[in-house]
């Protein structure tokens, strides 16, 4: 606004100067007005083209500006800003400028930016969207830009790779777990699970929790609605989710079996009804103290404790009908990527290296991003309380871990949300299992044909 005003004032002053000077035509109301109009129009044009300079080698006086964006809550914003401040202090020739938004808005913004060719220099990224953007040449190959990858597990790095290029560097890992609230279990007289259990035993546990609490708590949300839990079950049965060609690796029969698994539990106290879940959004039923357990990623611990106000929450491994194959894996909880169009590759690489490897960054984030993926960072971080619990869980399942998943197929984000949506309709009783399976396969085949 200030800029607009000054332009108008400048235009008016200049014209009146001209008009006042000797030999100039008489000041007329009309001329005066024309001038203002021109001024306003010029302003509109000027403000439309915002300036940007593309220098890459920064100096202390004129540092290279690096835009960084991430998703997350206020807690993560606070930690990230701390890390950025530290980086700026250590690298006076680079100035990182951070912005953030929530998860849903995040991907819509990136899509529009990518379409306009203006992705931020460095971005926090999710596995689900890596292939979408990497395959469409939006991301920078980080393989040989000077990021130290020696501290990473060899099995983890492929999850940041598309077509043999390292587009994403994992910041941290998480693993799937079943959370439970020991205080609630004690209250209703149900024994704590050990983590060595079959699906039938898991379901019995949920039923016990729901019935013995007399309506106060439900067992859990319907675990068959979670894509990653399904993925784990597929691994337990040695079925792949997606083929290397980007097609589905499982059949309608597999999905039918999976959704039928909880057929008898839906509508009982073992599983919280869909209308309750809907009303609690965006909080989870577990975080709202409506259920005694919840299967999800292990880095949600701090969030759950914050939401529910529980003294202590515990985690155990997921159930499996094959005690030797739990289907568990470490997934990069998030990755760091850079835009293919960034003008400051070196600065971007330096910042990413700092975020993934620096022990100081580890001390700032602890396990709120997941357990640090780089050994350098992990060893340099002290874990206490909740953070120690998360690290201990990942150590306890180490012997069961299989390879990290590769970046899922293009359009996976849609498939995952469709999985959740259709399963919700199943819980509302709007569709049968067979209809639900048909619906999901229809939209999955549509997505795959659209993107191949």
């Amino acid at each position: 606004m200030k800029f607009t005003e000054s332009i108008v004032v400048a235009a008016v002053t200049r014209t009146s100067d001209e008009l006042m000077s000797e030999g100039a035509p008489m000041i007329s109301r009309r001329n005066f007005i024309t001038t203002i109009a021109t001024g306003v129009a010029a302003t509109a044009l000027l403000t439309a083209c915002g300036g940007s300079d593309g220098g890459s080698a920064g100096t202390k006086e004129n540092p290279t500006v690096l835009n960084y964006t991430w998703w997350g809550n206020d807690d993560r914003a606070e930690r990230t800003n701390k890390a950025i401040a530290l980086f700026n202090e250590q690298n006076p020739t680079i100035k990182v400028v951070g912005t953030f938004s929530d998860w849903a808005g995040y991907w819509q913004k990136r899509a529009t930016e990518a379409a306009g060719g203006g992705l931020p220099d460095v971005m926090q990224w999710d596995l689900s969207y890596l292939r979408d953007y990497a395959q469409r040449n939006q991301l920078l190959d980080l393989g040989d830009v000077g990021i130290d990858l020696s501290g990473f597990e060899k099995t983890l790095l492929p999850s940041g790779r598309v077509n043999d290029k390292q587009f994403g560097i994992p910041t941290s890992t998480n693993a799937f777990a079943v959370y439970y609230d020991p205080a609630k279990l004690k209250e209703i007289g149900v024994a704590e699970p050990t983590g060595e259990w079959t699906y039938a035993e898991y379901q019995q546990f949920l039923t016990d929790a729901g019935t013995k609490s007399g309506g106060k708590y439900y067992g859990s949300t319907d675990f068959t609605g979670i894509w990653w839990q399904f993925n784990i079950w597929l691994r337990q049965n040695n079925i792949t989710d997606f083929t290397p060609e980007g097609k589905l690796g499982f059949t309608k029969a597999d999905l039918t079996t999976w959704w039928n698994l909880n057929k008898d539990l839906r509508g009982t106290p073992a599983i919280i009804p869909a209308d309750k879940v809907t009303q609690l959004l965006p909080k989870s039923p577990f975080g709202s103290n409506k259920t005694v357990s919840e299967p999800t990623w292990d880095n949600f611990m701090a969030g759950y404790i914050g939401d529910s106000g529980a003294q202590e929450l515990k985690m155990v491994a997921v159930p499996s009908d094959d005690p030797k194959n739990l289907g568990l894996f470490l997934k990069p909880s998030m990755l760091m990527v850079a835009s293919a169009k960034t003008k400051s590759k070196d600065a971007a690489a330096k910042f990413i290296d700092f975020m993934v490897n620096s022990p100081e960054v580890g001390e700032i984030f602890k396990t709120s991003r997941g357990v640090p993926a780089s050994k350098t960072q992990r060893d340099g971080t002290t874990f206490e309380g909740v953070d120690a619990q998360v690290v201990a869980y990942e150590e306890s399942i180490a012997k069961y871990l299989t390879d990290a998943p590769e970046p899922p197929i293009v359009g996976f984000g849609t498939l995952e949300s469709e999985f959740l949506r259709i399963q919700e309709e199943l819980n509302y009783g709007k569709v049968t299992v067979d209809q639900a399976v048909d619906q999901w396969f229809t939209s999955a085949e549509d997505v795959i044909s659209q993107n191949s």
Partner: protein, 337 residues
């Protein structure tokens, strides 16, 4: 519309009526204006036109760059397969034909039509009723008018949708009051059968804008008519049906049209109440919400563009139907019928 047009012509009418004035002034003007003067005038006119356009320029640029341009390109995109990253691929009418096989699309049409058919009349009835109450002469009506308008000022905002969600949730005030009367429905927000009534109530509550227009219309109904009717022994119902409604019909027509178009475009409240999912079970999957999810969630911009154009066409047709049928029920004062 007719009203407006007529008012614009009023100066001419005045001139016509005072024939003497026209006749005397016209020749004088002609005598004064020789050819050079006319040129001068033309010049001046041109300069004026130019100034006018320069003043319009910011708006014109905005219109061309931000509205007309994107609209035309969206028309083109609606015939393509476009995912924001790669160049659009021409596929002809495929997006349009696919729409009618898409169950979620059909669901969104059903939901939106239900909302328009129930929400719009309910809102107009509420607006008219309140306008009539506020039209009576009683103390503090200025205050009441402002007070009743407030919901419309804040109604479309994000915060109200959030409040609404809390009010209609499990053990929210609405559930508690209804339970008190023995109607235990539970939370409306999570119940697919109750979300539509909730959305309709939300729009009815925002009756302010049509109410103000109704109020202005009511002010123009001549009091003598009511007096005459009373003399003939007409009761309040008869007066309403025979005087108020017919005389108000142009205003009703305007409000009906605007609110219908408005209702088709409902987005923000549905987005917030369902957390952007259109749930529970697709019950708040309004047309524009599905369009948005397709475009920005699934990156199917061609498909979303086709949806947008279909909506434009449908709204256009409905507007046309309204105008065509309006002759039968809209009465403009002064029309000889």
């Amino acid at each position: 519309m007719v009203h407006l047009g007529r008012r614009r012509h009023q100066p001419e009418l005045v001139v016509d009526e005072s024939n003497a004035l026209t006749q005397t002034s016209a020749p004088t003007r002609r005598a004064k204006s020789g050819p050079p003067l006319r040129d001068e005038k033309l010049k001046q006119r041109r300069a004026e036109t130019r100034t006018g356009y320069i003043f319009l320029l910011p708006w014109l640029l905005g219109f061309i760059l931000l509205t007309a341009g994107p609209m035309i390109s969206s028309l083109y995109l609606s015939f393509t397969n476009y995912n924001l990253f790669e160049a659009p691929k021409w596929i002809g009418f495929e997006n349009y034909t696919k729409l009618f096989q898409d169950e979620r699309f059909l669901q969104s049409v059903k939901v939106t039509l239900t909302y328009v058919v129930f929400g719009t009349p309910a809102k107009l009835i509420a607006a008219l009723a309140i306008a009539m109450l506020l039209n009576s002469k009683r103390r503090g009506r200025g205050f009441y008018r402002s007070a009743f308008y407030v919901p419309s000022l804040i109604g479309a905002s994000v915060s109200v949708a959030i409040v609404w969600k809390a009010m209609f949730g499990d053990a929210g005030p609405v559930d508690q009051i209804l339970s008190f009367f023995g109607i235990g429905l539970g939370g409306w927000v999570g119940n697919p059968n109750m979300t539509m009534p909730m959305m309709v109530l939300l729009t009815v509550w925002q009756f302010g804008a049509p109410m103000i227009i109704f109020l202005a219309g009511l002010k123009q109904v001549p009091a003598e008519m009511y007096e005459a009717a009373e003399m003939d022994g007409a009761g309040p119902v008869r007066k309403f049906l025979s005087i108020t409604l017919p005389l108000l019909s142009p205003v009703i027509f305007f409000n009906l049209l605007m609110e219908t178009i408005h209702a088709f475009q409902i987005f923000a409240s549905a987005f917030i109440i369902s957390n952007g999912t259109g749930g529970p079970a697709g019950s708040t999957m309004f047309y524009t919400l599905y369009l948005y999810l397709r475009g920005f969630g699934d990156f199917r911009m061609g498909y979303a563009s086709a949806m947008a154009w279909l909506l434009l066409i449908v709204i256009g047709i409905i507007t046309l139907i309204f105008f065509k049928t309006s002759n039968n029920w809209v009465h403009y004062s002064g029309d000889e019928k």
